[in-house]
């Protein structure tokens, strides 16, 4: 097996597996940059996957055809944003511990989605979706020699959307007044408040954005990778996205890179069996590699990662 064949197996699978992680991690960047820890990404993604599966299914029956998944993305973005409000209200207005509130959000999503699935479909899972996001060749670009087939051959449109969004988020956070305010609120809320920035409002917006992105991430997962929704559809991808965000040092492009890397690690555990050297490595090492790497990254072996300064602290006006 030559190197091109190996790359031809690994790279498309890595990008494919990374897509939902990229989207969700971008959501995490918004929330945490504003100073609100979001452990609830897992639950938000679960909600998104549920909405993605349900509304793609209904989109099919309503005759939306191949647009059904895209319709479901729209709904997932909205529902994700609204669902994140719970976390925002608890952790920002009621000054709950942000980690606790995020954990509660995960619980709630796990219960609510399956409760609703049982209520709607009278079964523990949604039906399998016919209209899914499928592989396609990007015209012209896939004809480029060597990199064409790797990056643009038999790929998913959603992957390009995710990568494009990462660049958009980078632009928003680092090149716009909104981004500057967002970061100010996360680093030093009192200074930001003094400058006339509404800390509470900024944080609400940021948390809702994180819900919208994580919702989209979940919906993409349901419509491209899993194909339906069950209690085990989202099992840790939200935490993985959280890890990607930290590994990427709270930076949108860093998160993109880390998510792609985790996608690679995941794809190695899927495709590893077909690749010569990797066949000999026990499967479990490939499975745990993203988590071990995150721990190593945090411990500073991969370079110091500094969280936004005010992260995890509720802001109280006038308190020093």
């Amino acid at each position: 097996m030559d190197i091109m064949q190996i790359l031809g197996i690994i790279i498309p699978t890595a990008i494919f597996a990374a897509t939902p992680l990229i989207l969700t991690a971008l959501g995490g960047v918004f929330s945490e940059r504003s100073g609100v820890v979001n452990i609830g990404l897992e639950g938000l993604m679960m909600m998104g996957a549920f909405v993605g599966a349900v509304f793609t299914f209904y989109g099919e029956t309503w005759g939306f055809g191949s647009l059904s998944p895209w319709f479901s993305f729209l709904v997932a973005i909205i529902i994700g944003g609204v669902f994140a409000l719970l976390h925002a209200v608890a952790s920002i207005t009621f000054k709950a511990d942000q980690v606790v509130s995020g954990v509660a959000l995960n619980f709630l999503a796990a219960g609510l989605t399956i409760f609703l699935v049982k209520k709607i479909f009278d079964a523990g899972q949604t039906p399998y979706l016919n209209e899914r996001i499928f592989k396609s060749d990007v015209p012209v670009l896939s004809d480029i020699p060597i990199i064409g087939p790797l990056l643009f051959g038999s790929a998913y449109v959603t992957s390009y959307v995710a990568i494009a969004l990462a660049i958009v988020v980078w632009f928003i956070i680092y090149k716009t007044p909104f981004g500057l305010r967002l970061r100010a609120v996360g680093e030093h809320p009192m200074a930001a408040d003094t400058m006339g920035i509404n800390v509470t409002k900024m944080r609400y917006v940021a948390v809702m954005l994180s819900g919208a992105f994580a919702g989209l991430g979940g919906a993409v997962y349901a419509t491209s990778i899993s194909g339906n929704f069950t209690h085990s559809t989202i099992a840790g991808q939200g935490f993985m996205a959280l890890a990607a965000m930290i590994f990427g040092k709270w930076h949108p492009l860093g998160a993109l890179g880390a998510a792609l890397f985790f996608g690679l690690a995941q794809s190695l555990s899927i495709t590893g069996q077909q690749i010569p050297v990797l066949q000999d490595i026990p499967y479990v090492f490939l499975l745990i590699s993203p988590y071990v790497l995150t721990i190593l990254a945090l411990a500073g072996f991969v370079g110091r990662a500094d969280a936004p300064k005010a992260i995890g602290k509720p802001y109280e006006k006038g308190k020093r």
């Binding site: 452990i39 606790v100 509660a104 219960g111 409760f115 085990s232 479990v284 945090l298």
Partner: protein, 349 residues
């Protein structure tokens, strides 16, 4: 007296609000909440089987709640109980299988100790990283959970596999199960683990409130800088706290291995007991007695939910929703404080 009443009022209000909102959800999705709650609670006082199962469910919940609470007391947040529980489960089952020809009086403590040690080891890693590199324990413990899930599965698959995707059964000498307790409760899976759990709660109370180590641990939890100034070794206490917390979680796993199941399965996903421990610790206000009560409530809700489904057709997931809501309300105790302050002010003026 007013202070105590207020402390109790937060969890009580949270539970009431959680059940209320759960009822509204049932109502809006076309179920009868009164019938459902009646079905849920009535069996918990009348049916021996459900009582037995509730106590069985409480056992690991108490211990995982203690694990979360112990770390909380030192200002740490241990979300890694789930992973520590899994490694504790595996270690105790391994000792339960591998050690032969000893009496139960040696075998059971040995197996529980193995579980505690494995859990402590799993807690040591985040504790050390926190103390040495200031790495936030929330993220490392989550990562350790996944590592535990994959590693335990892999170990079972490679070394201990028995038909049915699980390990073999433990020796009878390591088992906590009891025919007497089972017969008494209409053949529930009740076992002697509840005694271990209650001893655990006593141990936590004693450690925290009656020993110097406990004093230091709590001091670090209140204020690290002041503790450091007072000559307390802060890093040492952080590591110690995570180890003890992990040990409690490991014993929770041992209860599943030696009591409920007598083996360990290959887990496709987390058991959820570790995460429930967060809810238990929060509702129980991190106190030993509070945790036992909270574990009783959540254990009862989970077991009663089965009857709720049978009688009122409400999916048992509703209880997960109620538990989540209770956590939200407990965490948002600021709301209760704020309300009280308003009322107090009005009363004065």
């Amino acid at each position: 007296m007013q202070q105590v009443l207020f402390k109790i009022s937060v969890p009580v209000i949270a539970v009431a609000l959680g059940l209320l909102v759960g009822g509204i959800i049932m109502l809006t999705s076309g179920y009868n909440p009164l019938l459902a709650y009646q079905a849920l609670f009535s069996v918990l006082v009348t049916e021996p089987y459900f009582i037995g199962e509730t106590i069985r469910q409480m056992t690991p919940l108490i211990l995982s709640g203690l694990a979360v609470a112990f770390a909380f007391r030192t200002g740490l947040f241990n979300i890694g109980v789930e992973g520590q529980l899994l490694v504790g489960w595996l270690a105790s089952v391994y000792v339960g299988i591998a050690v032969e020809g000893v009496s139960a009086f040696i075998h059971i403590p040995l197996a529980i100790l193995a579980g505690a040690l494995a859990g402590a080891l799993w807690g040591l890693v985040p504790g050390y990283l926190k103390a040495r590199f200031k790495v936030h324990e929330v993220i490392t413990t989550i990562m350790m959970n996944y590592i535990a899930l994959h590693v335990t599965n892999s170990i079972i698959r490679t070394f201990l596999l028995a038909p049915g995707e699980r390990t073999g059964e433990i020796q009878p000498s390591a088992s906590l199960s009891s025919m007497f307790l089972q017969e008494m409760t209409d053949f529930s899976r009740l076992h002697y683990g509840i005694i271990v759990a209650i001893l655990g709660a006593l141990l936590m109370w004693y450690l925290l409130w009656k020993t110097t180590t406990g004093y230091e641990l709590r001091a670090v939890g209140f204020n690290q800088n002041a503790s450091n100034y007072a000559g307390i070794n802060v890093p040492k206490n952080i590591i110690l706290s995570m180890c003890i917390s992990g040990a409690f979680a490991g014993v929770a796993g041992a209860m599943e291995g030696l009591g409920t199941y007598q083996y360990m399965t290959i887990n496709a996903a987390f058991t959820g007991v570790g995460f429930d421990g967060i809810a238990v610790a929060l509702l129980g206000a991190n106190s030993a007695i509070g945790i036992i009560l909270a574990a009783g409530l959540f254990g009862g809700l989970k077991i009663g939910a089965l009857n709720m489904q049978a009688v009122a057709q409400v999916p048992p997931e509703l209880i997960t929703i109620v538990i989540a809501l209770i956590i939200f309300f407990v965490a948002s105790s600021y709301l209760v404080h704020w309300l009280r302050n308003r009322i107090n002010k009005r009363g004065k003026i």
